[in-house]
């Protein structure tokens, strides 16, 4: 029965693997190569300089700062998005009044599910322009306009949102969470609906409160979806480039004020394009590569759980 297996396996794998090696793996590997040179990016001339770029990198305070910010994004974004999405999903699916209706979502849950998903279909370009309007630093900004109208903010001292050294990066994270929650809400809702209702009802008959059912029933049964979401969000967190570079202040690709919202991607692009230090930028890329590798291995280990069948 299995005699024609090898040609079949080969036939199915050859095209995807070839394409993947050519366009993904090979460029990544070349990045390693360039990181050992003083290449400027504008000409084809380069000299081999060994590990010089790497020793410089770890003395570069802007780089170390960017590294911390990326780690912050990597922790906060998935956590905030997943928690919010879980909360909403729980509300929309089993958060309604437990009357004779049994376990159900709150009123209008279909509407919420549709609306919350909206931002996901907006392109990142729209997000950037939209939130520059929202975070605008005078009363022409949506948020400042609202806050001033409510008397929370003094018109003479409006909030500076994305330009604030402390909150700038959090404002960016707000955008990413805003746009991402809906998708994970739908993903988790789907998973929740596949949990048989009688499990909840049995628990409730036993006197369990809703909060308890969430932690004892919903969460464990959703673990695999959460893991998928985590991976997807972690990838998104590594690439906040478009938003940070357009929304935060600072010379060349944002990241300001004074590197307070600097992330690897903005630093890398600035060194590559503006400062003409392509070799150095590639070294940065390689470091990011290893950090991500270690983090993914660790997080996959930590979150590994037994699959629950139901």
């Amino acid at each position: 029965m299995r005699h024609r297996k090898t040609p079949f396996i080969f036939g199915f794998l050859v095209v995807p693997v070839a394409l993947y090696i050519l366009l993904v793996i090979w460029p990544y590997l070349q990045t390693f190569g360039y990181s050992l040179t003083d290449w400027s990016g504008a000409s084809s001339e380069m000299n081999f300089i060994g590990l010089d770029n790497y020793t410089k990198l770890f003395q570069d305070s802007a780089f170390l700062g960017a590294l911390q910010h990326n780690l912050l994004l990597l922790i906060v974004l998935p956590l905030a998005t997943i928690l919010l999405a879980l909360f909403f999903a729980f509300m929309l699916n089993v958060g309604g009044k437990s009357g004779t209706g049994g376990v159900q979502g709150v009123r209008g849950s279909a509407f919420y599910k549709v609306v919350f998903f909206f931002p996901q279909v907006l392109s990142v370009a729209i997000l950037s322009v939209l939130f520059q309007g929202v975070y605008r630093t005078d009363k022409g900004g949506l948020l400042n306009g609202v806050l001033i109208a409510l008397g929370i903010v003094d018109e003479q001292h409006p909030w500076d949102f994305a330009s604030n050294p402390t909150f700038g990066l959090w404002c960016i994270m707000g955008v990413i969470v805003w746009s991402g929650v809906g998708f994970y809400l739908v993903l988790f809702s789907a998973a929740m609906q596949s949990i048989p209702k009688d499990i909840y009802e049995a628990a409730m008959l036993d006197g369990a409160k809703r909060g308890t059912t969430f932690f004892k029933i919903t969460l464990p049964l959703l673990w695999e979806s959460i893991q998928t979401a985590w991976v997807y969000l972690a990838i998104a967190a590594m690439d906040a480039f478009a938003l940070v570079s357009t929304m935060t202040p600072g010379a060349y690709y944002g990241g300001g004020p004074d590197h307070h919202s600097e992330i690897m991607a903005t630093l890398l692009m600035r060194n590559f394009i503006t400062f003409g230090k392509a070799g150095y930028a590639c070294a940065m890329g390689v470091v990011i590569f290893f950090i991500t590798l270690v983090l993914s291995v660790v997080s996959l280990r930590v979150t590994r759980r037994e699959k629950i069948e139901f």
């Binding site: 396996i9 794998l13 460029p27 990045t31 159900q104 009123r107 392109s123 022409g140 409160k209 993914s296």
Partner: protein, 317 residues
């Protein structure tokens, strides 16, 4: 799955819990303990979030009817006249073309991604052979790294490819389709791998005993069985590729002044934003965003059931 039937009583239940007060047995109040407070809180929060989503979107649409002074003045200003000239300006700047380009590329790249991704994932998930794990991790590793790491060499790769095969080079739809596909493979393989693993093997074995070839078994037995998983990974990919920004920015630049502009939508919009920055045409920019946004919202609203169902089935396995 049935939300309309009360599992314990079999009585058809209302989706809106508040409409059936008279029939509510007293003893069931016990389950709702604290429910009132929680309900107010959760309802409030849900409504707030909905406002946070809808508010800015309406604000953009309103913005396309304002003039520069009104946009700069106060967030609360109302457009003084309702004209569509900002839309005309935005459209003349090529929003429609960007749309068509994006649809062309996505049509190609999504088809290719799904085909190649499912083939690879299937073989890796259900056949044992030497190197299986290596290739699998090889694919998964790619999902972990941001695209910009590979950008520089990738650019030169596409440029060189273009000198050998012109229609695969820079600013070519086919070239971008291949790149999108390649960069979507890791996640697609990762996702579908676990999906194919979870499918029962009995059907497949039966098909093989019936003399089905491996290829036919895949396309005629496994693919239909995996339909739900395919749909959800398809949705992931639509969203991912729709939002690509760095790749087209780098690879879809006109190679000479006579080379057609094949900008993707996100890229074209940023360009429009830039032009507005120089000529201070904010209404035009807002109109451009509205034009780019509305069709997608309409498509989503018409297909939202399918989208949600697709994601639902992903977790049903």
């Amino acid at each position: 799955m049935s939300t309309n039937t009360d599992a314990t009583t079999g009585i058809p239940a209302q989706r809106n819990g508040g409409n059936d007060e008279p029939r509510k047995p007293v003893k069931e109040q016990r389950f709702a303990d604290g429910g009132g407070v929680l309900n107010v809180f959760s309802h409030g929060f849900l409504a707030l979030w909905a406002v946070l989503i809808i508010g800015p979107l309406i604000w953009i649409i309103l913005g396309s009817f304002k003039n520069n002074a009104e946009i700069g003045d106060s967030a609360w200003s109302w457009p003084s006249h309702w004209g569509f000239d900002a839309f005309t300006r935005a459209w003349n700047k090529g929003i429609g073309d960007f749309f068509v380009s994006t649809v062309i590329v996505l049509a190609g790249s999504l088809t290719l991604t799904m085909l190649l991704g499912s083939m690879a994932a299937y073989v890796l998930a259900r056949y044992e052979f030497r190197g299986n794990r290596v290739i699998y991790y090889f694919f998964v590793a790619g999902a972990m790294f941001p695209v910009y790491l590979a950008l520089v060499p990738l650019f030169f790769m596409m440029k060189n490819l273009g000198t050998v095969i012109p229609w695969l080079g820079l600013n070519q739809y086919a070239g971008l389709i291949l790149v999108y596909t390649a960069y979507s493979l890791p996640f697609t393989v990762f996702f579908l791998h676990s999906f194919f693993r979870s499918l029962p093997s009995a059907v497949h074995e039966a098909a093989m005993i019936d003399g089905c070839s491996h290829t036919r078994a895949f396309f005629q037995v496994m693919v239909p069985m995996a339909k739900s998983g395919l749909i959800s990974v398809f949705i992931f990919n639509v969203l991912g590729q729709w939002n690509q920004y760095l790749l087209p920015l780098t690879l879809m630049q006109q190679q000479s002044s006579s080379d057609p502009d094949r900008s993707m939508l996100a890229q074209g919009l940023m360009n429009l934003a830039q032009q507005s920055g120089y000529a201070s045409d904010f209404p035009g920019l807002f109109a451009g965003m509205t034009i780019a946004m509305l069709p997608v919202l309409v498509v989503y609203l018409s297909f939202q059931r399918q989208v949600q169902a697709g994601l639902t089935s992903a977790t049903l396995k």
